[in-house]
Symmetry: C2
Subunit: 201 residues, 2 copies
């Protein structure tokens, strides 16, 4: 429901209401909510329950600060170890096969798959876990903002470029390209946020 966009940002999730609606006990709802809180999708204030996170421009910047920290280090580890990037390769290829009519969600998922493949290639359980958290939040951004997305072919080409730099084991170029790629994405989302604010204002 949260990622469908069928819940307004900031909506308060009352325990009795949602537990009955979902057909589960209040305890179970609370436990489930705690998981989503850890992923950043919900917020809890004492005695006031949980509500759907509303993201502002600072949040987007912050999400990408963490994302950069993790991805840049991941690429460094991958380059140093000379890790095989078959999964990332696969994600790029599947991206290439999409045509311009591909659903927005499909594009987002494949984009994420590519980046996740690089993170997972490090073999670091904890970096992967931390990254899972930011990915949830990015998905939340996406769900709330529905930003402009480039045509699949363009994103695929960019990913291809990133991948080639990785495989060429050129650390400086990798870092530069990834920072730019992530910076662009961040800017893209920030613009979408600003656009929405102008509508609702």
């Amino acid at each position: 429901m949260i990622l469908d966009g069928s819940l307004e940002p900031g909506t308060r999730l009352r325990e009795t209401e949602f537990s009955t609606r979902l057909g589960i006990a209040r305890h179970t709802f609370r436990a489930a909510a705690q998981i989503l809180i850890n992923e950043g999708l919900l917020r809890r204030s004492p005695n006031r329950g949980v509500q759907l996170t509303v993201l502002d421009a600072d949040d987007i910047l912050d999400i990408f600060r963490l994302r950069e920290a993790l991805e840049i280090e991941a690429t460094r580890l991958v380059v140093i170890a000379g890790t095989d990037l078959a999964d990332a390769e696969l994600a790029v290829e599947r991206f290439n096969e999409l045509d311009d009519t591909a659903s927005w969600r499909t594009v987002v998922d494949l984009d994420m798959d590519f980046h996740r493949a690089i993170i997972d290639a490090t073999g670091s359980e904890r970096i992967s876990r931390a990254y899972a958290g930011v990915q949830s939040e990015i998905l939340l951004c996406m769900a709330q903002l529905r930003p402009h997305y480039d045509r699949p072919a363009e994103v695929a080409a960019e990913h291809r470029e990133l991948l080639e730099a990785l495989q060429a084991s050129d650390p400086d170029r990798v870092e530069k390209l990834f920072r730019r790629h992530l910076g662009d994405a961040s800017e893209n989302l920030t613009n979408a946020l600003q656009a929405r604010e102008e509508v609702t204002a």
Copy 2:
């Protein structure tokens, strides 16, 4: 109890036993355990409850992989923004005032304070949250391993060096020094782990 070392690594925390021992309800215990699971201090396996995390050499490496990702990016952000590092400065000074009789826990806490101060100086809520997780795990390492620790004066001197590089805005030197500092700490813990394994073997 976990960080006191009064609980053996791997101990299974039965819900009824611990909830009565702590004077709380089972549900409350489960909620509390969930928080510690998120911090990495406990593990849950389905239908088998939670048990105290046991860390092996791979875990220590992995903890420091994530730690490096966060700290290196934090130092980069601090250098770029020219952020004031008053809190880190303070931590170094308080470190300097310790004599060799200082309790092990005091030394650990001040060490952590220094690193946390740099993380917090970025102003990134999410990087700080992620770092809080690794710090818990490091504290767990420390509690379980009680590794060798340098004399306070030496650690203070090393921190002073790190801080001066940060304030001199020399990114390459900062990165090199921090990677070495963290690498040493990681090695230190790994050795302590190996030493323990030889005892228990």
